[in-house]
Amino acid sequence: MEFLGILSFLIFFLIQASFFSLTSIGLNIQWGFTGLFNVGIAGFFAVGAYTSGIMTGPRYAETWFGGFGLPVPLGFLAALIVTAIVATLIGYITLRLREDFLAISTFGIAVSIQLVANNLDELTRGPEGLYSLPKPLSELSESPLVDNALYLLICVAVIGLVYWAFERILRSPWGRVLRAIREDEHAAMAMGKNVFLFRLQAFVLGSATMGLAGALYANFIGFISPTDFLPIFTIQIFVMVIVGGSGNNLGAIVGSVVMWAVWSASDSLIAAVVSPDFQTQAAAARIVLIGLILVLMLLYRPQGLLPEKHVVSAAGRMKLKGED
């Protein structure tokens, strides 16, 4: 019993870590490889989660637009497509402009999606959220342990597939152009590369991956509501990518598992140690800590724990301006 308990906890933990891992890989292609700053991760994750929820969920309310009861893989596909469309719109408008406009706009999209999730009852059911979402392969077994184990397999398969695909394309000429853009946009432009188009592709690819992660999350938990997609999620993903080493997909996965372990452990620790009267304060303190870790990483170890393999020389990073 004891062993089964640990095993089921471990499986549950790894499933959750895989949502973060997948999102981190998505951020990595934007931030790590292309230097795009997306502050709206929670928003893209939410779009994917809600899309899959609307597509696959049972129609339990008359006033609800969704509840099409489609097979889960179709829900995942829809999540990919819808997130890609949203990302294309945002990227098309902002990626030509100064980099901070992308940050502000992705922040805006995350806030707006929060508002839609909270208020547009016809689509998102408001604060009540979506529930009874189907979990794939769960009809195969009665045991929740087996259920989860199967779901973990799905997650691992998806991550494996995405990881393999990303590693391939990042090693291709396309990926080299991305890194060239990150290091020196003007040089890439001088090489005749359409910088905007490359950026847009990277941004859409990364955001769609986040959407897929959201869909995986929604159909595992079976219940989503607006509070699942707060700005803290965005920061968590950034911390995971930076801890893992931006520009390194394996690092993104390792960072996600490690940071999720730290997060879960601190959760249990607070529950065990802090008296119930101070639980809210402890929760706030923990969020402060996550912010602090981010800032400290930026200050003292910006290259992360597992730095990118092909590091460009310091001379390459600096622009030699004004020399005669």
């Binding site: 402009l97 940050a103 502000i104 922040f107 707006s112 912010g291 981010l294 800032v295 200050l299």
Partner: protein
């Protein structure tokens, strides 16, 4: 007509905050995502000061906020500036010195923003706090348009702050130095301008504007940890709409955003207030990325 009056009140708060954002954006050259928390922390300091002085004392005629609120603003500015300068010293200064990219600065600000909100939760609790519990009595300023005297005073205060900022930047030596730094920091140094001093001044002025906005907003509505974070999108929208770097543009942008928001409330879309400013912002970026009064880069 009523929504125009409400919109102007709203706009005056957005303008104050956005001007603060604009100062840091121009001189320090990054979008300070923690500006909302500067506003919120300022409001809480002011709340503390008002509580110590005694709420409700010193009522000035029809204006209910009285001198304690006016006194609390400078106190809060000083306290918040100390916090902000410490954060700059510990976080932004080392990042600047290591030639960190603009995105790194924004990310640090985003992390600090999260910390700021939760520190307020930690120390002041999650419940909204009220500056006072009086029932405002609206007066009719025009046929069909009613406003609370306090709100009129707040609009006037904001206008004074905007005009003072304008005079400061245009007429004083310090203001001219700030404009010089915002255009070309290296040339400014060559001219003998101490960048560190200008950066400190910029933080202080940006903080002063944000704290004023936060305190007035807290007085009209309430103080809560998310008050500044919720203002971030309207502030950025005003900044971009007006044209980054153009102070008049920022005020104009704030006016448009403020009116649009109260328009949304008027049509019973108050839930989507923040999205309204986002939509306007996207439209501007699509059609005229340099903003209404901005110059093309």
């Amino acid at each position: 007509m009523q929504f125009i009056a409400d919109g102007i009140l709203n706009a005056s708060l957005i303008a104050l905050g956005a001007l603060g954002l604009s100062m840091t954006y121009n001189v320090l050259r990054f979008a300070n995502f923690a500006q909302g928390e500067v506003l919120a922390i300022g409001a809480y300091f002011a709340l503390g000061a008002v509580t110590v002085i005694g709420a409700g004392v010193g009522v000035m005629g029809p204006i209910k906020f009285g001198w304690p609120l006016l006194v609390s603003i400078p106190i809060a500015i000083v306290c918040t500036s100390i916090v902000v300068l410490m954060v700059d010293y510990l976080v932004f200064r080392p990042l600047r010195n290591s030639n960190a990219s603009r995105i790194t600065l924004i990310m640090a600000a985003f992390g600090l923003s999260l910390m700021g909100r939760n520190l307020i939760h930690l120390f002041a609790g999650g419940d909204p706090k009220y500056f006072s519990f009086y029932i405002p009595k609206a007066i009719e300023i025009m046929p069909g348009v009613k406003m609370v005297p306090d709100d009129l005073a707040i609009i006037a205060l904001s206008a004074i702050a905007v005009v003072s900022l304008h005079l400061f930047l245009k007429r004083t030596n310090m203001g001219r130095m700030m404009r010089a730094v915002s255009e070309n920091p290296t040339l400014a140094r060559i001219n003998g301008i101490d960048l560190k001093m200008i950066i400190r001044m910029t933080w202080i002025i940006g903080t002063a504007l944000a704290v004023t906005a936060g305190t007035l907003q807290g007085h009209i509505f309430q103080a809560k940890a998310e008050m500044g974070f919720d203002m971030l999108l309207p502030m950025f929208a005003a900044l971009i709409l007006g044209g980054v770097g153009n102070l008049y543009g920022t005020v104009l942008g704030a006016l448009v955003i403020g009116l649009a928001e109260s328009f949304a409330v008027y049509f019973d879309l108050s839930a989507y207030r923040a999205a309204v400013s986002f939509m306007i912002m996207l439209a501007v970026l699509l059609v005229r990325p340099q903003g209404l009064l901005g110059e093309r880069e």
